[in-house]
């Protein structure tokens, strides 16, 4: 009964979730829980909070699967967006950003990006690595502070002690280059723009 789910697309899995098939949610969990949990740990720096956030996101998918719109992006991006949004709400409610930065530093050594890529198709994983490698260190740092840290570009500029305009340019150029490369190599769908 679950063999069909192992081969199902993410979108088909979400339809099965809409039909209240718990094993479909289990398959979504099998595919995406590790990266969701890793992202929550990185943002929150607290495994217990991260567990709560990921649980909320999966239960939300169970209760409101129609919120996932396959036309707007992948299920992975949808789940990570939920994890990120909830995590950032939590840390913005906390008073001590400094503590979080310390925890980020500590957790940094425990991360395992390569492990995530191992479970992807090998060719695709190589494309992702190559695309991310196109970012300069400065661009990558600025994007990470905004994406994982939940900082505004003004805060990123303060942290990096760089002019705001420079940070804006780095985020803009870096993220667009990453997107274009992922599209070009077929990792993500093309964006249909008028010719």
């Amino acid at each position: 009964m679950t063999d069909d789910l192992h081969a199902a697309s993410d979108a088909a899995l979400v339809v099965a979730v809409a039909r209240f098939r718990e094993e479909a949610l289990a398959e979504v969990y099998r595919r995406h829980a590790d990266v969701a949990f890793g992202a929550a740990c990185r943002i929150l720096g607290d495994t217990a909070l991260a567990q709560d956030v990921v649980q909320d996101v999966f239960v939300k998918l169970w209760n409101d699967p129609e919120r996932f719109d396959p036309a707007r992006g992948s299920l992975r991006a949808f789940l990570l967006s939920g994890v990120r949004s909830r995590s950032i709400d939590i840390i913005r409610a906390e008073s001590s950003r400094r503590d979080r930065e310390v925890r980020h530093g500590r957790l940094g050594g425990e991360t395992d990006y390569d492990l995530e890529l191992e479970v992807m198709d090998l060719t695709m994983a190589e494309h992702v690595r190559a695309s991310v490698a196109l970012l300069s260190d400065d661009e990558r740092r600025a994007i990470e502070l905004a994406y994982f840290g939940g900082h505004s570009y003004r805060e990123v500029a303060e942290i990096l002690e760089q002019p705001e305009g420079t940070v804006k340019s780095r985020i803009r150029a870096g993220l667009r280059r990453l997107r274009d490369s992922l599209v070009e190599t077929g990792v993500t769908g093309s964006v249909w723009t008028e010719s």
Binding site: A11, V14, V15, A18, R19, F20, R21, E22, L25, A26, Y29, A33, D34, V35, F37, G38, A39, C41, R42, T47, Q51, V54, Q55, F58, V59, W62, N63, P65, E66, F68, P70, A71, R72, G73, A77, L80, S81, L107, E110, T111, D112, Y113, L115, E116, R140, E144, A146, Y147, S152, R172, L175, L178, R179, L182, V183, T188, G189, W192, E194, S195
Partner: protein, 281 residues
């Protein structure tokens, strides 16, 4: 910020908006721009998708995480929806079915001891039967609502998947040799929809931002083709409905442009009030 940003400035801020890295008025202006512009929305979606490929740390999710999810599902009212209806004989006597709202006055009445007179027993049986019937009706009502809701969410997702398929077909077609596209603009200058066509006559209408029409009205898509006498004529491509979605179509003649008109339900043989138009690029 005390001024309105122009389109170029707003476009430049989309990557920062995609990462939630904007604040205050800047964020509000970009949010309004994204809400009204399909291109901007698509750009933000694609940038967020790209950001999800940033090196995310993977950490093995602990077993207790899935256990917690399972417990949460068990506590969710939705979980009971997959449970098949219980036979009446198995209905609980003290409480309604899981997820069912308590029915006022439907509390089971305890059956009295058999020393009561038969007339009393009959009354008790009658009350008990009424209670069981009431419970059955309430359970049926709950299950009916549940089934309708479940069908709604499946329909919604199936529609999204259909939309996704059409959108992906159009995206693939737009990259093929000989593909042409048109932006259909309303009188106000806003983008009302897009069309992409291949030389073999296959076409796709998508990215509709047309406002929903009242009941009894429909949008209709027309291809503008050569009439053979130096002029043009309109060929109906299809009725798009009150709230147009992504649609595939086929036109056999060479097309110079497209028009969307508003018509009575069922469509028309010639375009009435034109609401958007555009030429093939």
């Amino acid at each position: 910020m005390d001024r309105e940003l122009n389109r170029e400035e707003l476009d430049a801020l989309l990557p920062l908006y995609a990462l939630d890295a904007l604040e205050g008025e800047e964020r509000a202006q970009v949010a309004r721009y994204v809400a009204r512009d399909a291109d901007a929305r698509a750009e933000v979606d694609s940038l967020r998708e790209a950001a999800s490929f940033m090196p995310h740390p993977t950490r093995h999710a602990p077993q207790s995480l899935w256990t917690g999810i399972e417990q949460a599902l068990a506590e969710s009212p939705d979980t009971s929806r997959e449970t098949p209806p219980a036979p009446l004989a198995a209905l609980p006597t003290r409480s309604p079915a899981p997820g069912a709202e308590p029915v006022p006055g439907a509390e089971p009445v305890p059956v009295m001891a058999s020393t009561r007179a038969s007339r009393g027993r009959s009354r008790v049986f009658a009350i008990a039967a009424a209670v069981v019937l009431l419970l059955a009706v309430s359970v049926s009502a709950v299950l009916g609502v549940v089934v309708a809701h479940q069908q709604d969410r499946i329909d919604a997702l199936a529609n999204e998947m259909h939309h996704d398929t059409i959108t992906r077909q159009a995206a693939m077609a737009s990259t093929m040799p000989g593909a042409h596209s048109a932006r259909l603009t309303a009188d106000s200058g806003t983008t009302a929809g897009r069309v992409v066509m291949l030389p073999d006559g296959s076409g796709w209408f998508l990215h509709s931002d047309l406002a929903a029409l009242p009941v009894g009205r429909t949008y209709q898509l027309w291809a503008v083709v050569d009439d053979g006498a130096g002029g043009t004529r309109y060929v109906s491509v299809g009725v798009l409905g009150r709230e147009p979605d992504a649609t595939a179509f086929r036109v056999s003649a060479p097309v110079s442009g497209f028009v969307v008109s508003e018509e009575p339900v069922g469509g028309a043989t010639a375009p009435g009030a034109m609401v958007a138009q555009g030429s093939m690029a």
